[in-house]
């Protein structure tokens, strides 16, 4: 039994009956995942993360006992609807281009008095060790569902971040000579059975970018673009990219901008 299949089988949540029915008829993996998605289309477990994230956004937390409700994540203080479609973007108060996670770290510091290291402590959840960040991101992104990606390069720092992100995308290094582009700059390729989006091509970039975060069936967790980039670099045999770092914001800028015009449709369900 391959590890992915095993991961699918051990995942535990409310749709146990559906999963059991599904598990009894294994055929090929791709078809099974499609079938699994259909069974769950009205009940993506990511909704649990979204609900927790909305509560966390409104909860008074940190030394300052404040909520995140006045946080400016791109469309002004407190505006959540559609905000993810304009990220990453330039923020004057930090004088930086920031993605959503980076911006949330800023707000947790400014509004709630939470230190950067505390804000980043549990950045990727693992079972009972839940991540505040993944939940809040799940909720904020869900509030952009159905809207078009609209990332700007009008500010010189945005343009600069895009160009740097593009350079990172094509940067070959490490013992395996891999770059992001090794897997993600050609049409119609697969790694094992997994289709590889060509992230330099708008159609593929849109389809890929607009479906993160996703509830990962193989992990039983909601994972964001931040995690996708982290895990790609692991497989590239690179050192670890800092969570919510400027480097990740720059690479995300390249990916998000290439997805402009795509209709945002996440949190999604992924293998």
């Amino acid at each position: 039994m391959n590890p992915m299949f095993r991961g699918v089988l051990v995942v535990g949540f409310s749709a146990v009956a559906a999963a059991t029915a599904w598990a009894q008829k294994p055929s090929n993996t791709v078809q099974e995942i499609e079938r699994y998605r259909e069974l769950l289309q009205d009940g993506n477990p990511a909704e649990l993360w979204e609900a927790r994230g909305e509560a966390l956004w409104k909860e008074q937390r940190g030394p300052k006992h404040a909520s995140l409700e006045r946080c400016d994540i791109g469309l002004g203080p407190g505006v959540v609807k559609g905000a993810y479609t304009v990220l990453p973007r330039y923020f004057a108060d930090t004088d930086k281009v920031q993605d959503l996670e980076s911006r949330l770290v800023t707000c947790m510091g400014a509004l709630q008095g939470i230190s950067e290291s505390d804000a980043k402590k549990v950045h990727f959840g693992n079972g009972p060790k839940k991540s505040v960040m993944e939940a809040v991101v799940a909720w904020i992104t869900s509030e952009s569902r159905g809207m078009k990606m609209n990332v700007s390069l009008d500010n010189p720092k945005e343009k600069e971040a895009y160009e740097i992100g593009k350079k990172m995308f094509f940067y070959r290094a490490g013992p395996h000579d891999f770059s992001c582009a090794t897997c993600h700059s050609h049409d119609g390729l697969r790694i094992r059975l997994q289709d590889l989006p060509n992230l330099t091509n708008p159609r593929d970039a849109q389809r890929a970018y607009t479906t993160w975060p996703g509830y990962r069936v193989s992990q039983g967790e909601v994972r964001t673009m931040q995690h996708r980039i982290f895990d790609c670099y692991r497989q590239q045999r690179f050192p670890e990219p800092g969570y919510a770092s400027d480097a990740v914001s720059a690479l995300t800028m390249y990916l998000a901008r290439n997805a402009n015009g795509g209709t945002y449709n996440a949190p999604a369900l992924k293998r």
Partner: protein
């Protein structure tokens, strides 16, 4: 006469203009390239065996990064890289290139090795199936590289084909500059014995690759 002169002036002017645009674009590219490396060095951290020194490129990596995306690798640069890399291909001292295809199949299946999540004291894999079709029994194969099914049958079970297979796995850059394939021997990803076993998977007439 006058027309010819006008045309020449126009052509010269255009050439200068194109040159200037090209130059400006190149400078911008170099600048963002340096900024990208500076940013990665600031923000990437060593973890396990995946240390930050891996961000430093060798000459091949730097050249292949420069000629990526829309910039095609000039053929003369490609030949130069291939010749230079060929000098580093180290063939086994005992002259035997064919190992055990069953062990080679395990190497082809295994995707671990060199990641920060891998135990460096355990042998790594070649993950050949991630990119290549090899046998008809394994349906889960990628398409980044060409199908290698019937590799030996198609190329002939000759010493020359064995030598090519060993060299290609050992250092793909010696055969196709800026290939997507890792330099398994040159970078110590696989041991000499593991490469022999992969060569057997490709070249042994009894291997499922050749059935």
């Amino acid at each position: 006469m006058e027309k010819t002169y006008q045309r020449m002036v126009l052509a010269a002017g255009l050439a200068v203009a194109v040159g200037m645009v090209g130059c400006a674009a190149m400078q911008e590219t170099d600048k963002s390239g340096e900024e990208a490396l500076t940013l990665m060095k600031k923000d990437f951290k060593s973890r396990g065996q995946a240390t930050v020194d891996r961000l430093n490129q060798d000459d091949v990596q730097a050249l292949c990064t420069k000629y990526s995306g829309d910039a095609a690798l000039p053929p003369e640069e490609a030949r130069r890289v291939e010749a230079a890399q060929m000098a580093h291909v180290k063939y086994p001292a005992d002259g035997k290139l064919l190992g055990d295809w069953k062990a080679g199949e395990k190497v082809a299946q295994a995707g671990n090795g060199m990641q920060w999540s891998d135990n460096p004291s355990k042998p790594g894999g070649g993950n050949c199936y991630a990119c290549h079709e090899l046998t008809k029994a394994e349906l889960s194969f990628g398409t980044i590289g060409p199908s290698l099914y019937h590799f030996g049958r198609n190329r002939g079970f000759t010493a020359e084909s064995q030598k090519y297979a060993y060299g290609k796995v050992y250092n793909s850059e010696a055969f196709a500059a800026c290939s997507s394939m890792p330099r398994f021997g040159a970078h110590g990803i696989l041991t000499e014995q593991q490469i022999k076993d992969v060569v057997a998977l490709l070249m042994d007439p009894h291997s499922p690759v050749n059935q």
